[in-house]
């Protein structure tokens, strides 16, 4: 990883020195060794703080729509981030010619919750290898196999390699197994209606309506979300069952054909609510019916925008 970071740093330094970008989005050190935070590096800034490891939780594409389209942005992108960038480009949230993407084949993101579950909150140091994670907890050293502590979305990742990038650092990785997602959706669907509804209720009703999932999601960039609308009010904004159900259903539905399964929503959730089972189902449907996968290129319109008369055969009896 240090080798990768050095290469990354050299590339960013080159871009910033050439003044070919206005800002570079990457990760930087934060107070806790476990939580690198998004960093915005501008020409003249020091790159001492630059960080890149398995703990980088955010989807950096989230920040793309917040800049004016004229801003020349450089970004380090992993597989899911590059697909999110493509999906945003399809929706005209930025211009490809104003982006410089440095791709890194992604080895997965470590789930902090899984680490804390195995030890405790006060982790003081962290280091990593290709396949193992080492942490210091209460003066003791703990070593974990990376696969055991990866985030669930990353275990099911289909495309770890970034697409549509300018510079690729590192060797491409093998593609993921499509059956993993399908099995998960099928297993949930095999449950009875009551069991499925109970699971949904149990997850949705823990929600405290902090909207961290929305803020972490690159595709949730509306200036006014449907839950913030108050004339008329579409859904209850309290934590009543009606409000939380509506939020979880409609939030997931707004991602249909746009979600890249990065799992940023689940990682951001303070209540540890599972959400990807909804978006995975929608992604599966979209793939099956329309043969569309989000963000594989920057031109193909998502199915909800690309309807045509052929649908008649499918839907009208």
């Amino acid at each position: 990883m240090t080798e990768l970071r050095a290469k990354l740093r050299a590339e960013i330094e080159k871009l910033l020195n050439e003044q070919s970008i206005d800002v570079f989005l990457a990760f930087k050190h934060a107070d806790s060794p476990l939580r690198p935070q998004p960093g915005f590096f501008r020409p003249g800034d020091s790159l001492e703080d630059l960080e890149y490891n398995y703990l980088c939780q955010n989807n950096l594409a989230n920040y793309l729509p917040r800049f004016p389209v004229e801003t020349r942005i450089g970004m380090v992108v992993r597989g899911c981030e590059s697909r999110s960038v493509n999906a945003l480009l399809v929706e005209k949230q930025h211009l490809r010619e104003n982006l410089t993407l440095i791709g890194v084949p992604c080895q997965g993101i470590v789930d902090l919750r899984k680490l804390i579950e195995r030890t405790g909150e006060d982790i003081t140091a962290y280091s990593e290898n290709q396949d193992t994670i080492t942490i210091h907890f209460q003066g003791m050293e703990h070593v974990f196999v990376k696969e055991d502590v990866l985030h669930d979305s990353c275990l099911r990742c289909l495309h770890p390699n970034p697409v549509n990038v300018d510079i690729l650092i590192g060797e491409p990785l093998p593609e993921g197994d499509t059956n993993l997602v399908r099995e998960k959706v099928a297993a949930f669907q095999a449950l009875s209606r009551d069991e499925r509804y109970d699971w949904f209720r149990q997850e949705a009703e823990r929600c405290i309506r902090c909207y961290a999932c929305r803020e972490a999601c690159p595709m949730c960039y509306c200036t006014e979300c449907f839950v913030d609308h108050n004339q008329p009010r579409w859904t209850e904004s309290s934590i009543s069952p009606a409000g939380t159900h509506a939020w979880h259903i409609i939030r997931a539905f707004h991602q249909a054909g746009r979600c890249t399964s990065c799992g940023a929503c689940e990682r951001a959730c303070p209540m540890d609510i599972k959400m990807t089972y909804l978006t995975d189902k929608l992604n599966e449907d979209i793939l099956e019916i329309y043969q569309f996968e989000t963000g594989m290129d920057a031109e193909t319109q998502p199915p909800f925008a690309a309807f045509n008369m052929d649908d008649k055969k499918r839907f009208v009896a």
């Binding site: 949930f188 669907q189 209606r193 009551d194 069991e195 499925r196 509804y197 109970d198 949904f200 449907f226 004339q231 008329p232 009010r233 579409w234 859904t235 209850e236 009543s240 069952p241 009606a242 159900h245 509506a246 259903i249 409609i250 997931a252 539905f253 249909a256 909804l278 189902k281 929608l282 449907d285 979209i286 199915p303 909800f304 309807f307 045509n308 008369m309 649908d311 008649k312 839907f315 009208v316």
Partner: protein
């Protein structure tokens, strides 16, 4: 037609299903049908008229379901006859995916129905509603997702 009087179901004391009808205002070509929908709907059917099926936000359907409705029926023009050229095409895809999603979390997909009406379908809306009502009577009353029963159907300004 069993639907208008519905005396049979009253006598048998069976559950009278409530239906939310979302109607595209252009889809009923016959004045007789439109008059029936506007003025003679039985009280168990809640009518929402929209300018196009493409105007239906899935949130409206969810609102109706949360308000305790037993079935949702959407009536619209055939794909090539949309007044807004392609509004109902966009609706087709969205509503299909939305119903799949609701089915996935336990709500019965069959409780939501599309009717695509055509010029020669005189009286079809009544037949479809009667058939749908008969189908819903056969099912148990739906409790799933009906979390907002005390509020009126169609959203509230709380």
């Amino acid at each position: 037609m069993g639907l208008v009087e519905s005396s049979e179901s009253d006598i048998l004391m069976v559950h009278k299903p409530r239906i939310a009808l979302f109607q595209c205002q252009w889809c009923l070509y016959s004045e007789v049908d439109q008059y029936w929908v506007d003025h003679k709907l039985p009280p168990s059917i809640h009518l929402t008229k929209l300018s196009c099926t493409g105007r239906i936000n899935p949130l409206y359907i969810l609102n109706a379901i949360q308000g305790g409705i037993d079935g949702v029926m959407i009536s619209g023009c055939l794909p090539e006859k949309c007044h807004f050229k392609e509004g109902n095409l966009s609706a087709l895809r969205q509503h299909d995916a939305f119903m799949n999603l609701l089915d996935y979390i336990g709500f019965d997909r069959d409780r939501m129905r599309f009717v695509w009406l055509d010029l020669q379908d005189l009286g079809r809306i009544q037949r479809e509603l009667a058939e749908f009502e008969a189908f819903l009577i056969g099912l148990q009353p739906e409790k799933r997702l009906a979390t907002r029963i005390s509020s009126p159907v169609g959203g509230s300004n709380d």
